[in-house]
Symmetry: C2
Subunit: 387 residues, 2 copies
């Protein structure tokens, strides 16, 4: 297998864009990534396109050729990849494997989602398709209720981390306020999170990630080619892991530790020859604040049951020992589902290049993105190293 | 890259199954494929799952973990792949590449679609998501109208092949009547096709493929492993190609020859070191009868403009020089969209193994499947050889 690097990145500002279509979002982010890579679009050999649910939300499937036509990529092969909220990282991993295996030398990986034009009920129905429709959604279960159960179980097995969950939101909003692409640009307080509109106990509206329109793209190539043509810091993919779990929450062995995250992380660490302490920063999947606490434990950053302490001690802050979600995360940057994993990688590359402006962390040499789908039924973890 | 072979196959009977859920269809076809491969499910390392539109038709996305849970595959990585009607062959190609590259040794590739529980308007809307929603579907264009335009343009550029289009349907129904898995089990006449309920001139209802519930699965492994453990004929993947085109029909250079098919076929022939004359049989994407005529020309079996003659001369029959759609094709076996490409491969393997019963063709050593998505915006072509 050949070493793969990220040559170019591009994303839209995340938010509510009633005037922009899927085509517009794709055009903007895709064009930026190709320009950032410093290549001609004619050198792109394949497109790996991620989208979660435009089939339902925008009556649009077959996003590969749609994006290829919008970006003028001619007759290249395209494919759409979906794994719920992990779709973006799955597409990245497929594109990465295609380059690593020698199948293609330069590929484009993109993700896009348009959600805010539908009403709350429609968006809730659309998102619920990431769980088992027959056994879960059909009987009225929603994702906030699932992750509220996870929080309550965590409180029972370890300790009540209500305060620390709120601190995750505070950290996300702070970082988002320093990221021009973030949907949320305002700071928030623990008090405001805890007294927010109740969704499913203990979650309030401020414990939940956002409904977002947005797109993000990456250009991938071999590290050898990147070294020849890139004028920016080389960002190599040094580790990658992908694991699954049952789609239904009821069939899982544990809901306070995600087997898919633990396995995917193990694969990524082994491939990179690294351990959790080697990671300078991580974009973690924070669909809900409790998810972030569970994930930073499952990724091995903190002991099981001690994630809340780490948050309270400020370890996840921009100036902490393990900065988490410097972009603002799903909670404050936004969660344009099919684009989320790719936007996580956009942030890691931006930090590793030292281009993160006011939210730039001091030491940024090794970064990770962690992306789950559904009730952690899919998980992808990637590790990047700046040379 | 390592040589890859098909170790096991399984499919449901295609049809209208109101009592069977997506879970049921997946369980049936997946279990058959694993049994046919003669392996324990624990040896499967990854699942590549194809589905076109359950997000819209059945409120179910995230089909990877759904299928994995149903089949009891534990924590293996799963991914869903979509490229409209070509989804199945795209999933096959991704699974094949994963084995060829050395990433995994044994993978499961599956496809499932449930369509007949929705009414005609809903199914039409669902299928229309394979075209450009904004520029095509939204203004009232449907796939029958697109392929009717293609037929009329073909009549203008070459000659009127109305009779030969009907003969394609007659051939499909004849073959389907010999295939126990086919949705249509009755013969049909040219007269009945031509005088059928009009859909979009010149297409009648009998020129159109079916709305179908069904699933199909394959087990793939290296040819080396297959030789060690298989008790059946070794079916090696010797060629594969994948190309794209614009999603909108208006942006294509030609609509009487599909650039994506021509390019994907060229790649597959080159990889196999073969030419069209080497192919003993082909499962061709016949979403409409005119599509079959255009495709058998684009695949190089017959000269451009002469596909109709070949059909009239009986060359595509079971006893002809180039048997096409021995399974009954999309027209008579059925078109469970996400499963279609995989079911095409199921037929090729069945024929190459000599297990096709009354529809078995005499010489079946090299077979091809050809699968397009949307208005040939995606095309995958694969060539298989029996050893």
């Amino acid at each position: 297998m050949r070493s793969v690097s990220v040559l170019g990145i591009g994303e839209t500002k995340m938010g509510r864009w009633p005037e922009k279509s899927l085509r517009d979002l794709i055009k903007e982010a895709g064009t930026k990534a190709i320009q950032d890579a410093g290549i001609e679009k004619e050198s792109i050999q394949a497109l790996y396109m991620s989208n979660f649910n435009a089939s339902y939300l925008a009556y649009q499937a077959h996003m590969g050729p749609l994006a290829s036509e919008v970006l003028g990529l001619g007759n290249i092969p395209t494919i759409r990849i979906e794994g719920a909220c992990a779709s973006g990282s799955l597409a990245f991993r497929q594109g990465m494997m295609a380059v690593a295996s020698g199948m293609y030398d330069i590929v484009l990986v993109g993700g896009a989602e348009k959600m805010t034009h539908r009403n709350t009920e429609e968006v809730t129905t659309g998102i619920a398709s990431a769980m088992d429709f027959e056994l879960e959604a059909k009987v009225g279960i929603t994702f906030p209720s699932i992750f509220a159960m996870i929080a309550n179980r965590y409180f029972y097995e370890y300790r009540n981390v209500r305060e620390e969950m709120a601190l995750c939101a505070v950290n996300a909003h702070h970082n988002g306020s320093l990221n021009p692409d973030a949907q949320m640009q305002k700071e928030i307080t623990v008090e405001k999170v805890k007294t927010g509109f109740p969704i499913a106990y203990p979650l309030t509206v401020f414990d939940c990630s956002l409904v977002t329109d947005g797109a993000a793209f990456l250009v991938l190539t071999t590290t050898e080619i990147a070294k020849k043509i890139s004028k920016k810091r080389i960002i190599e993919v040094v580790g990658s892991g992908h694991a699954g779990d049952t789609i239904t929450i009821g069939a899982k062995k544990s809901i306070t530790g995600f087997a898919s995250t633990q396995l995917a992380a193990k694969q990524a660490y082994e491939m990179a020859g690294m351990k959790p302490a080697d990671i300078d920063l991580c974009e973690v999947h924070d669909c809900f604040t409790i998810t972030q606490i569970v994930n930073i434990e499952d990724l091995g950053f903190f002991e099981k049951g001690k994630g809340g302490d780490a948050v309270a001690e400020g370890k996840i802050a921009l100036t902490g020992s393990k900065p988490i979600n410097t972009s603002g995360g799903l909670k404050a940057k936004g969660h344009p589902i099919g684009a989320t994993g790719i936007s996580q990688i956009y942030e890691i590359v931006t930090q590793l290049r030292g281009e993160a402006g006011p939210r730039q962390i001091k030491k940024a040499d090794i970064g990770m993105n962690h992306n789950i789908g559904g009730t952690a039924a899919t998980c992808v973890v990637n590790i990047f190293k700046g040379w």
